[in-house]
């Protein structure tokens, strides 16, 4: 059984009247890519800041590598790599100098550090930009530099707090591939995001947070099994009659159907061949069928069903 890398127990953090973390407990095992998923303000970054001992909390305990985490736990900090939500680099230092500086805070051996820095530069693909100053880099390259500064010392635990915010799709894919590679190389990853697609893509286990609570936890398959919906069928048709609607609603495993935006949406819970049965009903009533979609539930559906609201704001 894998060792526990991070153990958060009953963590409470208040900002005056606001409860940012409400008795949060998490256990993260060695080798996992653990996703903290939740909308903005759900407590993900607060959890990370408490974990790193940057933020004082009101109640609870935090252990990393089996030891209590404190601001002076330098032996623990040596094994942690942190990639902040905001880019944290010196604008007056080159790409190479920035990585060397941050790596040097962890690694004192110069030869070893030089090797690590070169590996980090290769890892994030900044070989052609080593002499560049951060302000000359694009947003995506800047994020990659931010990551290189956090992982150059080869930490055992890497914490990435929304590392892909405001990043172009190409850089985002590169970052996600890099995180998977780091995990394959043996690092345990904690990844916070409000992008469910990213979390679904790379995380082996996920905790969904809302208003400081952990509302669900498990692998993506386990999470999806927690909800009623197993399949959403959407069919472009003319608005069905009440009779058709009633027939669809009476089909096995269908628990809800509605007509919006020129589509009939049928929500199913379990069962096989749901799509065929719905199409049979429509054909029987001689309805012209346009495009047909059959979608498996997403983490957004999980979040929606558990909390009653969408995971991501529309502008996100």
């Amino acid at each position: 059984m894998a060792n526990t890398v991070v153990k958060i127990d009953n963590l409470v953090k208040r900002y005056k009247e606001l409860i940012a973390l409400d008795h949060l407990s998490l256990e993260i095992k060695e080798g996992e890519v653990f996703g903290l998923l939740g909308p903005n303000g759900s407590g993900k970054t607060t959890t990370i800041n408490c974990l790193l001992s940057l933020l004082a909390y009101d109640k609870g305990t935090i252990e990393i590598f089996g030891k209590p985490m404190t601001p002076t736990s330098y032996d623990i900090k040596r094994e942690i790599g942190i990639i902040m939500q905001n880019v944290a680099v010196f604008n007056e230092l080159t790409v190479m100098d920035n990585i060397d500086y941050f790596c040097g805070l962890y690694i004192t051996d110069k030869a070893k550090r030089k090797q690590y820095v070169e590996e980090a530069i290769r890892f994030v693909g900044l070989e052609d930009f080593t002499k560049f100053y951060p302000r000359k880099l694009s947003g995506g390259l800047l994020r990659r530099l931010n990551i290189a500064c956090g992982i150059a010392h080869k930490p055992k635990l890497i914490i990435l707090d929304e590392p892909t915010v405001a990043v172009d799709p190409q850089s985002r894919n590169k970052i996600l591939e890099g995180i998977e590679q780091l995990n394959r190389d043996g690092a345990t990853i904690i990844y916070t995001s409000h992008y469910m697609e990213e979390v679904e893509q790379i995380c082996t286990r996920i905790a969904i947070m809302d208003k400081g609570h952990k509302v669900a936890e498990g692998s993506k398959e386990e999470l999806k099994k927690m909800i009623k919906n197993t399949e959403t069928i959407s069919i472009e048709v003319a608005e069905p009659s009440a009779e058709v609607n009633a027939e669809v609603a009476a089909l096995p495993h269908v628990y809800k159907n509605e007509y919006t935006d020129g589509k009939l949406h049928v929500y199913c819970s379990g069962g096989k061949h749901n799509l065929i049965r719905v199409l049979d009903v429509l054909q029987k009533h001689d309805m012209h069928i346009g495009r047909v979609y059959s979608e498996l539930p997403t983490l957004n559906d999980v979040f929606l069903e558990i909390t009653g609201k969408a995971l991501r704001d529309k502008e996100d």
Binding site: N49, L52, L55, Y106
Partner: protein, 377 residues
């Protein structure tokens, strides 16, 4: 760890825009402008120049000619004499070539001037003193003719030239004040890099601070390295600024240049420590803190007379303690006293005060930033 941090703090500090603009370019540019604007004012306004005068002798006075000849051969003569007849002299006066005409008749001098001013007053004083002394000599001659040469030589000696009475070993050029005030202002601008030291090391103020706080390098080491690097950079800037003024602009800081450098370096370090302390207070953004700090610096400068010349004297009269604790006043005083006092007693007091303040502000900064966990980020 310390040396690693120090190395990169120095490197990043050297490339910081605030450093280049306010601590290097600003003093060089402004001192050059000062030099262009005031460079020759002292010589033209403050330094004494011989007064041009025409002399018309109708009595063939040998005493007057003897005094004037002797005067002109001195190092710093009171008058530049042109002997002329009455018409020529009046033309010279109307043309502005001379400031006055001295007439000698019956061993008595009379004066005609075209205006009223310092130079005319000097000519009048010369004539009055000459007449008065001739009277004394005439009286002595009537009583003891043998004493005439000795009395005459003694009395006329003082009329020959002006002599400088120095109050200090320093340079009395009034316009040096502008350069001293500029150095003091640049020293206080060092507060801006002191501010970045506080902000860049606090997790609740910057992402950089948060990242540093997550590293295994103790905060005290990181802070000390950063602060010392700022002290070094500011000292470098102060030395460059003073050297530029002294050796490129040829500003005469007197014969105690070493002490001017010492004042400049310590005042620069004091400026950095003020920024460090102010930056460590509260959890405002960098911009907010920069605004507060600029306000603080400007207030200190205002109270020390860097903006309104009489302010320091007013404060000294109404509330003298303010001048003793105002860092800007202490900095400018350290320069001023090099010019005013020959001994270094007061200078030493100012230097010790600066060191004490630097220590105090640095300790305040350390105490406020030593916090290891934050209530909010």
């Amino acid at each position: 760890m310390f040396l690693h941090d120090l190395k990169y703090s120095l490197r990043s500090g050297l490339r910081a825009r605030v450093m280049l603009i306010w601590l290097l370019i600003f003093p060089i540019a402004l001192s050059t402008l000062f030099k262009i604007a005031f460079g020759n004012v002292y010589e033209s306004v403050e330094l004494f120049k011989s007064v041009p005068a025409a002399v018309v002798t109708n009595d063939g006075s040998t005493e007057l000619r003897g005094v004037l000849d002797s005067m002109e051969s001195s190092e710093n003569p009171l008058m530049k004499v042109t002997y002329a007849d009455k018409e020529e002299a009046e033309k010279l006066l109307s043309d502005g070539d001379v400031q006055g005409i001295i007439y000698s008749e019956d061993r008595k001098l009379s004066l005609t001037v075209a205006g009223i001013g310092m130079e005319e007053t000097l000519l009048k004083t010369f004539c009055d003193q000459f007449n008065s002394r001739v009277s004394v000599i005439t009286e002595a001659a009537s009583k003891d003719p043998a004493s005439i040469p000795a009395v005459s030589a003694e009395l006329m000696k003082e009329l020959n030239s002006v002599s400088e009475e120095k109050l200090t070993e320093g340079n009395m050029d009034y316009f040096n004040e502008y350069f001293y005030n500029l150095i003091a202002m640049v020293a206080l601008f060092g507060a801006l890099i002191g501010l970045s030291t506080a902000v860049d090391n606090q997790a609740n103020l910057s992402a950089l601070g948060a990242r540093k706080n997550c590293s295994p390098t103790p905060k005290s080491i990181s802070l000390a390295a950063c602060l010392i690097s700022r002290f070094i950079l500011q000292s470098f800037c102060m030395v460059v600024g003073v050297s530029y003024m002294r050796f490129i602009l040829k500003i005469d800081f007197g014969d105690r240049l070493g002490l001017v450098y010492l004042s400049a370096i310590l005042s620069g370090i004091l400026g950095v420590s003020i920024g460090f302390a102010v930056g460590s207070i509260g959890a405002g953004s960098y911009d907010t803190k920069q605004g507060v700090l600029t306000g603080v610096i400007m207030s200190l400068c205002f109270l020390s007379g860097l903006m309104v010349a009489d302010m320091k004297a007013i404060i000294a009269e109404k509330l003298p303690i303010v001048n003793d604790i105002n860092p800007a006043a202490v900095i400018t005083d350290s320069f001023h006293c090099l010019n005013v006092f020959t001994d270094t007693k007061i200078y030493t007091v100012k230097i010790v005060t600066m060191l004490g303040m630097t220590l105090l502000f640095s300790v305040i900064g350390f105490i406020l930033t030593r916090r290891r966990k934050y209530a909010s980020l």
